[in-house]
Structure formats: C-alpha cells, structure tokens
Amino acid sequence: MEKQSKHWEDVRDLFRSWREENCRQSEDVVDLWKEVLVNHFSKLGDEGWLVLEQVFIAALDCHSMEVANFCLSKLNQEFPDSMRVKRLKAMKYEALERYEDALDILELIIKKDETNAAPRKRKVTIYKSQGMIIEAIKELTDYLRIFMADQEAWMELSDLYISQQEWNKAAFCVEELILHSPFNHLYLQRYAEIKYTQGGYENLEVARSYYAQAAKLNPNNVRALYGLLLTSVHMASNSKCPSQKKKESIKLSEWATNQLSQLQSSNDSKLFSSQILEGMGNLQIGNDSKN
C-alpha cells in the first residue's frame, strides 16, 4: 500500500467536492484528515467548520470516536448554542446506540424550531437503525406532509416501502420524484423496477415503457437496457400480448441487445445478452403473476 503525501490544499479541494456531491467516502475522509488536514486546520478559515462537520460524520461512520469527539468539541467551542451542532451531538448518540438520548436532543431542537427539517429526518434513521421500519415509515410520511419537496426523503420512503414489499406505495413515492424531475433517467428506471417486481401483465407493460424512456434519455444506463430487454422478451412471449406489441417488443429487445453489446465490446466478458435470452425462462424471481 503506497502512502502518497498529499498537499493539504488538494485534500481540502477533494473534501469540498465530496461535500458538494454528497459522497459517502467515510474511510478516506477520516484517513486523509488524520494524515494531512488536521495539521493544517488553522489555514482552512471558515471552511474549516464545514470540514469539521464532514469529518465528524465520517468518523461516526467509521466508529473513530476519538476523531469524532475532537471535531465535536471544536465545533461546540465555536458555536455553543447552535442547533446544528446539537444535531451532531444527537448523531453521536445514535452512533453509540444511545437512541433515547439522541431522541431527547432531537425533540428539543424540533420544539425550538418546527421548520427545522434535519432533526426530523434523524428521527427516521433512529427508527430504521433499530429495525422499526413501520415507525420509520410513519415518521417519514408525517415529515413529507410538511416538507413535500424533499426528494431525498421521497427516495428513502420508497426504499422503506420496497423493503416491506408495498409496491404501490413505493411506486407512488417514485411518481412524486418523477414529477419533480421528469428527465431523470434514474427515477424512471427505478419506477420500472418496482412495476416489474410487482408483477402482472399490465405492470410489465408499464415497466417496459419506463425502461424505454430511461434508455432513451441515457442509452448508457445499463440497468435500463437490461430492463428493456427483459420486459420486451417477457411481453413478446406472453399470450396476452397483441401481435403488434409483440413485434414492437422484439424490435425493442433487439435494440437493447445491440446497445448492450456495444457497451460490452470493450469488456472481454463472454457473458452476452444472447445467453440471457437463452436462460430467460428459468429464473423468474418476481411475483408469479407474470401471465
């Protein structure tokens, strides 16, 4: 393992890009902090506080409590009455599995400022960590009644519903996301996946159209291409499918196969879409009501 000595400014810029993209690179953040940035903290200026928050959260993720406590104490020193810092303290209790203490702090923050969204979301994660998915769903739906534009929350709710196999509700959440961003190919692809998993011929058709739209918006979306291939082949072999749609499906599956083979041509994997077509009938895990 080579240890490259990084210049502190490069590390600072890297951290900044990770903050902007909301990347979860906790191990790297903690390592780079310990190796480089901690020694140059004073040079960071006001950005230093954002970095401390970032390193704190990363340290909790890695259970590096020493680093976390260092960051928290520095933040507490500078911003003694801050609700934002209090929320970080609640996160620390979460990491230590002291959920009651965490909830107490969060309730306090919410009481002081009902419009503060972040502590409400932490409550959801506390329920989720304890495996209390039903409570997490209730908390999150209450949250979304107030903060309806929060896309991250809709996505999280969709994931929670998927884990409970509540396909209709999961699909509804993704519909909200699609309304917000109709050209986001990932949302369209996710919707198709839920519909496909739900099963039934009508859902298969819906899945195929959403996969097609996702693939149209981004022909490099491998999941959309495979999904299009899968749904087209299922539809073409389904007795309910009228002949015109069958022809359409066959054309779509051919297009998807071509796109995939183009993407795969740089990869010397022998496992081609044609082999998938071969194995198509055998391994259907989704709901049995495909026909």
Binding site: V222, S269, L271, I285
Partner: protein, 199 residues
C-alpha cells in the same frame, strides 16, 4: 438433506470483503458449489457478490442470476446457496427477500443454505467467523445449522487470519459486485484478479 456445509477460503473471503466494502447498506450474493454435489455435504467453492442497493427488486436480480447461471454451466458449477448481510447492525434473522431468493435456489439445489453475516462480530482483526447458516428444509421451514456442521476451509483459524490480512490491505475496495458492474460494465463481477490476490 446435507448434514455438513463447508465454505472455501475464497467464498468466505469474498463474503466478508463484500460486507466491508459496503458497511452502511445490506449486501447479498450467491454461493456456488461444484456440479453434482451430493446431498450429504455441500462445499461452497465460490461466492458471487450481487447487490448493495435495493435488494428487494426483481429485474436486476433476474439478469444477474441468468448471467451467473450461464457462467456456471461453462465452469461446471451450480448456484447452491445465498448470503446476506443486513443493513441494521442488530438484525439476525433472514428477511423475506432472502427467504424468497433462497427458496428459489432450493428448487434447483434442494440443500441450499442461507448464510447470514453477524454484523456485530465483524472486525478488522477477525476473531469469529461471523456467519450463521440456515438451511432450507422440505415444508418451507428454515433450520439453523449447528456450528459443528459448518466450517470454513482449510480451518476456521487459518481462514480468519487470511481474511484479516486482506482487510488490512483494504482489498475490499477492489471487490466488484453486480451493482458495480451495472454502474460500469467494464468491471468484472467474476473478480478474477481479486481471486489471485486471495489465493
């Protein structure tokens, strides 16, 4: 019904590396055994990591299983088991998705085992195998396998040392699962290069 269940060092390493690569999400994968494995003892020779996002959605699972099945036919292997690490640290029972997938596998390989990772026992310096195994029985029940009937080859201690060494080199960063492959199709879900580093 298989009475003993063995996991090769390669399969075990890949399972642990997968869990370490994505510690904040659930992960799952399938276990492969040699074709024609008897019903009395199953030896899992390899593990194929599947997903770390949305394990409950069917389409990509079907595509992945088809590709793995295709590969198995060329390599004389069968999909014979399944592993799963839960998202929540404390969760120790197989969730509905894992059960359904393993039931499907059991249709083709009756003594399929469901290997669950015990998140609490994972550590950079491994002292426990951190696995618990349940086996599918006729009638749709899951039976927990005793520790005597389940072992890692060549023996538990050697395997734990070996995995700890892989973890210290952070080799989990090099592991590729199907989600990684679908994000970037040039990534090799067979992990051929990683295999040579593990052996």
């Amino acid at each position: 019904m298989a009475s003993s269940c063995e996991l090769s060092k390669l399969a075990y390493s890949k399972i642990i590396l997968h869990a370490f690569k994505y510690p904040h999400t659930a992960v799952n994968g399938v276990l492969l055994a040699n074709e024609g494995s008897s019903n009395h003892s199953v030896k899992y020779v390899d593990a194929i990591p599947l997903f770390h996002h949305n394990l409950g959605l069917a389409p990509m699972l079907e595509v992945a299983l088809m590709q793995i099945d295709s590969y198995c036919r060329t390599a004389g292997l069968v999909i014979a088991g399944y592993y799963h690490a839960s998202e929540a640290v404390a969760e120790m029972s197989p969730d509905i998705v894992s059960q359904r997938i393993c039931e499907k596998i059991a249709e083709y390989f009756p003594s399929a085992c469901l290997v669950l990772i015990n998140n609490r026992q994972l550590a950079k310096q491994m002292t426990h195998t951190s696995l618990s195994v349940v086996q599918y029985c006729d009638g749709g029940k899951w039976k927990v396998k005793d520790k005597e009937n389940f072992k890692i080859l060549p023996n538990n201690d050697t395997a734990l040392d070996s995995v700890s060494s892989l973890l210290s080199k952070k080799l989990y960063k090099k592991l590729v699962d199907f989600d990684d492959h679908f994000d970037d199709i040039s990534q090799d879900w067979l992990n051929v290069k990683l295999k040579s580093m593990i052996d």
